[in-house]
Symmetry: C2
Subunit: 207 residues, 2 copies
Amino acid sequence: MTRSTGADRLADELRDRVLSGVLAPGTPLREELIAAEQGLSRHTVRRALERLVAERLLVSEPFRGVRVTSFSDDDVTALQQLRGALESEAVRLLRAEHAEAWPADVLDPLRAAVRRLEHGGPVEESHAAFHRLLVSSAGSARITEAYERLDAEMLLFLRQLRFHYDPHTLCVEHDAYLADVQLRGEPAVREHLAHATTVLLRARATR
Amino acid sequence: MTRSTGADRLADELRDRVLSGVLAPGTPLREELIAAEQGLSRHTVRRALERLVAERLLVSEPFRGVRVTSFSDDDVTALQQLRGALESEAVRLLRAEHAEAWPADVLDPLRAAVRRLEHGGPVEESHAAFHRLLVSSAGSARITEAYERLDAEMLLFLRQLRFHYDPHTLCVEHDAYLADVQLRGEPAVREHLAHATTVLLRARATR
DNA sequence: CCCGTCCGGATTGTGTAACAATCTTCGGGT
DNA sequence: ACCCGAAGATTGTTACACAATCCGGACGGG
């Protein structure tokens, strides 16, 4: 009972392709070409493309088409600031709700997610999944949704940077982060994200 | 030199119409009808509608068309939580940047915005403008942008509720809020928004 | 009377073909 | 080197058509 339309599927397909990182930032996506290779009409392709533009994975200029978004240092910083706003509020809500210690049904999935950093699929995916889980644990639908959008953007940036976390280091760091967040709350979030931002920007500068 | 396309203009036109609040929540927007009265093709209308769906002013169900968004109590709560995340982070950034007192070039426009609550255009607009200005003063592009989207949603909700602030009360409250935010920071934001949320939800319950 | 089924109208989802509007490129003239 | 214009490429839009889906109401069995 798939209530999904062709444009939905194409948007998903294109999103995967963009997020895979094989397309360099700035690469144009031509309507005619995609229409031909997907066996769809240009109108349908257009609709799918517009959706990805709304998700900020592509950027569009009138009469010049859409291209894979490219990030400036300022873009990354602004993105991380927004992430910080969302994740720190999520952590605040979690700590407000669970005054003493976080219950097992919150903590266990998070611990499992940390372990998957070392022994789970691609590191970047697992890493994104951990943070998503942390935010969604707060139970605020809109904060979660906004965060997931950002996650996709961040993933795109990582893929373009071809940055690779070391799984073990990441696992240790996030184990500490999970503890720190329960203990200190928002400041821990900000420090974690600030650290990540400097690492990423430095990684890009030396290239 | 407006590089705007017809779909852009239609989207703006429709957004104004929706935000004016004359359309009840749930009112369907028929493609054919709009196309006829605007002298545009259905495809173009579709594109404009999809954009407003992305902005959450309209909701779309496959094969059932788009309608004006209607808010549940939970929607409003979740929306305010997200607002809280953004506005409190903006305030934190402002206080972090201006350790002692906020400089005049930040404070003066804010004070002017507060005054416009009593002697400016429509109250809801001025109110939204004040909060937008507060958030944008923090200078984080993405937080500002995310906040502006939310503002449009909130405005739609207010218009549907036909809720009318009392200009004078609002002016006094926000004068105090502006002082409180400088003094206490994030908690002041959360209290202000929580207050607003309860007022709005109660206003709707008694109807 | 209540209930499910089926039909036809209304509306959306998609396709094809075409043209207009705009950008881009390239070559010619100066 | 520079400006200009023509040709090509690409997007923006239209018109028309048809398939897919939803909706409401008629119809018939219980």
